[in-house]
Amino acid sequence: MGFGTYITKRLIVALGLLFVVTTLNFAIVHLAPGGPEAVLLSNPRLTVEARTAIIKSLGLDKPLYEQYIAYVRGMLTGDWGTSYFYLEPAFKVVAGRVPATLLLMVPSITLTILIGVALGILAARRPYSLLDRALSSVAFFFYAMPAFWLGFLLLTVFSLYLAVLPASGMTSVTGVGFNPIDYLRHLLLPMLTLTLVNVANFSLLVRSSLIEVLDQNYIMTARGKGLTERTIFYRHALRNGLLPTVTMIGLYVGFILAGAILTETVFSWPGLGLLTFDSIFRRDYPIVLALFFIFSAMVIVANLVTDIVYGLLDPRISYE
């Protein structure tokens, strides 16, 4: 079985997963006791006619299965409904927030991988040395740290006490045009928060994976052959040790997404995370469904990509 079939199979599985996920999302969301009525019609001053009219205009009076079919069809054609709250197409609202979250996530993932691997290597290079122990303990430190607490600590130290960095948002209120320095200043704290926690986790993972590899028989053989530690490490251990971490990266997209929700809340970063938080509380169904779809899609795609990359890299895999 060739590589092409491997990919196709994986692709089919991914699509199937996506479908299951969206159905599950729909089911869960519609079981909410609050319901969309509670949101738009929460003003006690609205009349009965007003409520019926709103319900009609938003299609909430149709039976559930009709709503479901419409939902699936919509998802496929890109029509994700109209936000109850914003009265704009859900797609537009969500798409509008994606750049902000990407701006936060992409550098964060990149840094997490780069720094995480670098630190993991540094630590595994001489296991249990002082450097390793110091790095590991710092890693534990951030691993156990609640992200929102860290974010808030950083916020208060740098924004409140030292007043060198802005407190919230993505850009300065009165910024004119595109000012990269401004973006950078606003990005610094949220990205720091998001990255620190994940780097800790990731580097520990890399380290343990590498150390494990170093225990393997073939490493001992290599040592027996008289190769230097350096060669063994960089030529043999690294390549095999890093492979499993490639798989982890797929999972990390999920973690970073979760971290983004908390971080965006602390720093008022106008991205998807904040939108999730707000929309859930507002029972803005179309947005919530759209967001779940996007998040799951991102994780599924990330896993798919890492599957493929892994398949390419690992010669042991037989593509079944």
Binding site: A32, P33, G34, G35, E37, A38, V39, S42, P44, R45, L46, T47, V48, E49, A50, R51, A53, I54, S57, F85, Y86, L87, E88, V93, P127, Y128, L130, R133, A134, S136, S137, V138, F141, T156, S159, L160, Y161, A163, V164, P166, A167, S168, G169, M170, V173, T174, G175, V176, N179, I181, L184, R185, T265, S268, P270, L274, D278, F281, R282, R283
Partner: protein, 604 residues
Amino acid sequence: MSTKNLLGISLLILATFGLLQVGFAQTPPKTMVVAITAEPDPTDLNPIRMITLYWMAETYADLVEWDQNGKTEPGLAQSWTVSPDGLTYTFTLKDGLKWSDGQPLTSDDVAFNFKIFTEQSTFFYYQWASIQVPDSNTVTGFALKPGAIETPDPKTVVFHLSAPSATFFIYAGGWPILPKHYYEGMDLSKNNPDVTTMVGSGAFIPHERVPGDKIVYVANPYYYGGKPFLDQVIFKVYRDPTGAEIGLQSGEANLMLNVPAQDVPALQANSNLVIGTEQPQLNTYIILNHHPKLIDGSDNPVSNLLVRKAIVLSLDLPSILNASFGTFYKDANQIQVPNMYYLGKAVWNSTIPMPEWPYDPTTAAQLLDQAGYPAGAGGRRFTLNLVIAGQPGASIIKMLQLIQSSLKTVGINLELVLMERSAGRQRIFRGAVPKDWNMALGGISSSPDPDVNAFYMVSTLADNGAAGGFNAGGYYNPLVNQLTVLGENTTDVDQRVAIYQRISGIAHEEVAVLELYYPVEIHAWNKMYQGFVLGLGNPPHDYWGIIKHQSLAKVNIVEVTTTTSTEAMPVGPDYTTISAVVIGLVAIVGVAAYMIGRRGKKAN
């Protein structure tokens, strides 16, 4: 790491620090940034939807304006008359009125305005008024039929009513007038107006909106009060007050609305800031469930008048409020707010004691015994729950917790149930009757007319099932209902005021609701910005009077000597504490490092 690498890294770090020092994006001249902490992101600038009206206070002028003393003054209308029989209202517009795009503002716009609000009234804020009258498109006695509104010339609007109305003037006068040439043909229930092309008559018109972040308003050169000094007003949305305060401190924001009471001392310490207060027409109270049983069939002690009396007697509200809000509140003792007027006469009932109830826990305990709820083991009598919808501020939480502990001393166990906003509102206002809660935190905006509080808080005239009045607890007194209807139809000032005072009295005697306080709004701004007018806005924009167009138009920036603002505000822990914490943390890390080391050597 090689020295070369080290050098490179150090240079990078230095460069970053250097960049950081590049000053905050300075506010361009003649701009003011207003910090808002709005729980929901202001969704859209659609005048049909209630939520947005606060944001429109700058954009649209009304026919009549009210000054900070509750006196009427000309708005878009220069003058007005009412016929002796109360059936004809004539408004004469000012000369030379223009919209922000230069188009003339005429009586056609006024006529169109009423048409659009009553036709698309499904969503409209004032729809409530129509509940009282059989026709569904009416504003108390005013029905939109052919000939109801006449526009004999571009400057005159005539309204013909079918019956005299106590409230028509207040609504008609306080209605934001929308431009016909902009909104004609737009279905506002389906589409939001395009912010970039908006047209208005107020001092500042919105022109740019970044959802969740900010709204930019631009000065209107044709504003009838004269072109404003400021070029731009930007409303920036912060998620919480702390962020807004940091913004205010750092100069990112120049005015902050709704400062939480406990933060005021800290802001006052900053000599660059000015604190001002407004007394909006808000009433914060606890809704009491008057149904004898809860939905699960269990007994509801609160439905018993003796229990209600016991509850209010066991609370030392003045102390509780003082501890929670400092000096920024007003004790509440009746359902009407202190600054509620009808045609200049206050409806405040001064015979109701202030504070409303004495603090008398002994009598409270006796009343509870009398009511048939003796103290059991550990002094416990029964448990009540209090539902709160949405995230209240820290002061409110503190107040509720103090109430909780006061009730505990007379044997009542109070559970505070914090629910997120929409599910909470559903549970309080729209859940099936009877309810599953004993008490709920409520608040009502009382403007523009005394009828609002009477109608919603203590009458059962609103559709409690679907639309749900604020009287979610089901307090019912037929006399109160009768009086409420009477009040709507009485135009004589003295009679009408007496009616509402009577209603307040009855509500007090029967403890219809548990009155808490009338909130005081606190605003803080940079002292360079001067000219704010506080306390504006009788109907319909009673919140944030400070940003009504008459106030904003007058704001100008004055150069004053500013003290370096990096001092003051939150001092933070002192150096000894900081060093102690840092040393502690380093110790933890060090010990952890040491610990790990041990393990490695002994691995078998």
